[in-house]
């Protein structure tokens, strides 16, 4: 194919001529204690091949047995996505050879998924989109390959590969959307918003740790474009393993731009698998679907059908927690925040942190401010996610409390944050060890004020003449003298008093 040589069309121009249709397939590793079909513990970062058994290693003679909790979690996800739950369904074998697949077939679901036909609402720039959910099904994850030789870590040009099967057999839920038309230039943002909303939903269900960076939530993005007004959708490509919210947005964007370039040049889109390149933000061609394998699906004979009892499904439905959309509406009302504030909190991934901070006793306003401003800056500087900061919502709530009580001022509070992040202990421990408490001893303060007045008789005179604004300069002198540990408001009051102003 020569499509790689064709110049992409800039996004705005592309979407002025073409209508994109997107679709997303999301794989989520469930947070069960053991794997899908065996009692081997699910681990992350364990020694290679230390979490394997005859079943997940696919040894001859071994047989799978379904993990009931994985079924329960999948039904939970299906219900939260407004799906119908199958009254009878089966696992099937998807047959293809690949070294990271121990049996050379994957136990998956084919034409009988556990959950079908649901929806999820997302909002982008004030526009509501109802994303149709085609199916939610359960399968097993594969092992992980490490490629040795050639370009580092890349499969192409490698001399050989090393396989670790710890991940093989971890339950994997696949959530497939229906095609999403009508998003126009918002397509990339809608794709991102859908995955963000789905991630929040899964987190609230407590069925997965949904860590995209660790691969417990992985996305494939389908993209097609067709001239605006065309009755048909175009040929779609599938971009594999797009593993951050930002990448999802970029992948859709670049694929729309690339496809527009191909169509503008009179070419035709090849139905194929593409790979997203983090470094360039573009997609590259993978395996063509035309030479795709015949997966020879057939019902898994080593397992028997599942027929989830209606009572069980209703029990699971009754146990669903408050879902993120409803929760956001409730929290916004409770906290009295604006839409803009809420959007900012979601974008910064700070909603849960603020909620936990409020739950620990802090008022919503300061909690929002601390997380969105000071702490966001720290996370940004450290290049980590907000939630990964070494300070807990409860600790933030305590710092806010100390400020409210006048025991810390904002400057000191920031120093306390320094201490907590540096691992010096709780806020109270940092206050004690760094001797950060606001000076409340009035005799000490009075002495400092008197000293300042004595050293600046002209300013003191102005204040005495009623130029109260001049007090600021003396406050600064006192704060400096007390190394910032005085409460500025109290100092000011004392200065006015001593200068005889305001009487």
């Amino acid at each position: 194919m020569t499509t790689t040589a064709i110049k992409p069309v800039p996004f705005d121009l592309a979407t002025s001529k073409y209508e994109p249709v997107i679709g997303l397939e999301t794989h989520v590793e469930l947070g069960t204690v053991t794997k899908m079909f065996c009692g081997t513990p699910v681990t992350f970062g364990a020694e290679p091949n230390s979490a394997v058994c005859p079943v997940c290693l696919g040894l001859p003679g071994s047989l799978p047995v379904i993990n009931k909790t994985a079924i329960e979690y999948t039904i939970k996800i299906g219900l939260a996505l407004n799906c119908s739950i199958a009254s009878w369904c089966r696992f099937a074998r998807k047959n293809y050879f690949y070294p990271d697949m121990p049996k050379n077939f994957q136990i998956s679901q084919y034409d009988e998924p556990l959950c079908t036909d649901g929806w999820l609402e997302v909002e982008v720039d004030g526009h509501e989109f109802t994303i149709g959910i085609e199916r939610v099904h359960l399968e097993e994850d594969t092992g992980k390959s490490m490629h040795v030789g050639g370009a580092t870590g890349r499969i192409h040009g490698a001399d050989y590969s090393l396989v670790d099967y710890n991940r093989a057999g971890i339950p994997l839920v696949e959530i497939v959307t229906k095609p999403i038309p009508g998003t126009a230039a918002l397509a990339p943002a809608v794709a991102r918003a859908y995955v963000a909303e789905l991630r929040d939903l899964l987190r609230s269900l407590d069925v997965s740790d949904v860590r995209m960076e660790q691969g417990s939530l992985r996305c494939d993005v389908n993209t097609s474009i067709a001239p605006i007004g065309s009755p048909d959708w175009g040929t779609r490509t599938e971009t594999k393993n797009v593993n951050s919210l930002r990448s999802i947005e970029r992948a859709v964007r670049s694929e729309v731009e690339r496809q527009a370039g191909v169509l503008d040049a009179g070419g035709r889109i090849v139905q194929e698998t593409r790979h997203f390149q983090e470094d360039t933000g573009a997609t590259t061609s993978g395996r063509s679907k035309e030479e795709a394998q015949d997966y020879r699906y057939f019902p898994e004979p080593d397992l028997v059908p599942m027929a989830p009892a209606r009572e069980w499904v209703e029990e699971i439905r009754a146990s669903l927690p408050e879902l993120p959309a409803a929760r956001r509406v409730r929290l916004q009302a409770q906290w009295g925040l604006s839409d803009l504030d809420m959007t900012a909190l979601r974008n910064a991934d700070a909603l849960d942190l603020v909620a936990e901070t409020v739950a620990a006793g802090a008022p919503a306003g300061p909690a929002r401010n601390w997380w969105l401003e000071e702490l966001s800056r720290r996370a940004n500087d450290a290049g980590i996610e907000l939630a990964a900061l070494a300070i807990s919502p409860a600790q933030v709530a305590r710092i806010i409390e100390l400020v409210e009580q006048g025991q810390l001022n904002n400057k000191l509070a920031r120093v306390v944050v320094d201490g907590v992040l540096a691992g010096e202990g709780s806020p109270d421990e940092v206050v004690a060890s760094r001797n950060l408490a606001v000076v409340t001893d009035t005799s000490v303060l009075a002495a400092a004020v008197d000293e300042a007045i004595a050293a600046n008789p002209d300013i003191a005179a102005k204040i005495a003449d009623g130029k109260i604004a001049a007090a600021g300069a003396l406050v600064g002198v006192v704060m400096k003298a007390t190394k910032g540990q005085a409460d500025a408001a109290s100092v000011r009051e004392l200065i006015l008093q001593r200068c005889g102003a305001g009487n």
């Binding site: 020694e47 290679p48 230390s50 009931k68 390959s145 490629h147 050989y160 396989v163 099967y165």
Partner: protein
């Protein structure tokens, strides 16, 4: 003729069997006869007859989400044709999945 030699070659590729030309000739003839014979199932299996995939009529066989001791890495790797850094060493992989 129920199956051609080319089809047999394709089946061999799908099945990951590097057959020789002689084997292909031999199997093509035999498979043609066998497929012709087994096609008899089409005579009686009318629409409306449900398929039987399991001899035993069981449903909902589940296990609780409880840990069982895994193999240790040594046992897992002990039968590997090649291993390196506690991993199974495999020849280079040409296609991405």
């Amino acid at each position: 003729m129920s199956i051609t030699r080319d089809e047999v070659a394709h089946l061999a590729k799908l099945s990951r069997l590097a057959l020789t030309e002689d084997e292909l000739d031999h199997f093509a003839g035999q498979l043609d006869v066998i497929i012709g014979a087994v096609a008899r199932v089409q005579e009686v299996a009318a629409a409306g007859i449900p398929p039987t995939t399991h001899a035993a009529e069981l449903v909902n066989v589940f296990r609780d989400d409880v840990v069982q001791a895994p193999l240790d890495a040594q046992a897992a790797l002990s039968q590997a044709p090649a291993a390196e850094q506690d991993r199974f060493r495999v020849p280079r992989i040409l296609t991405e999945e």
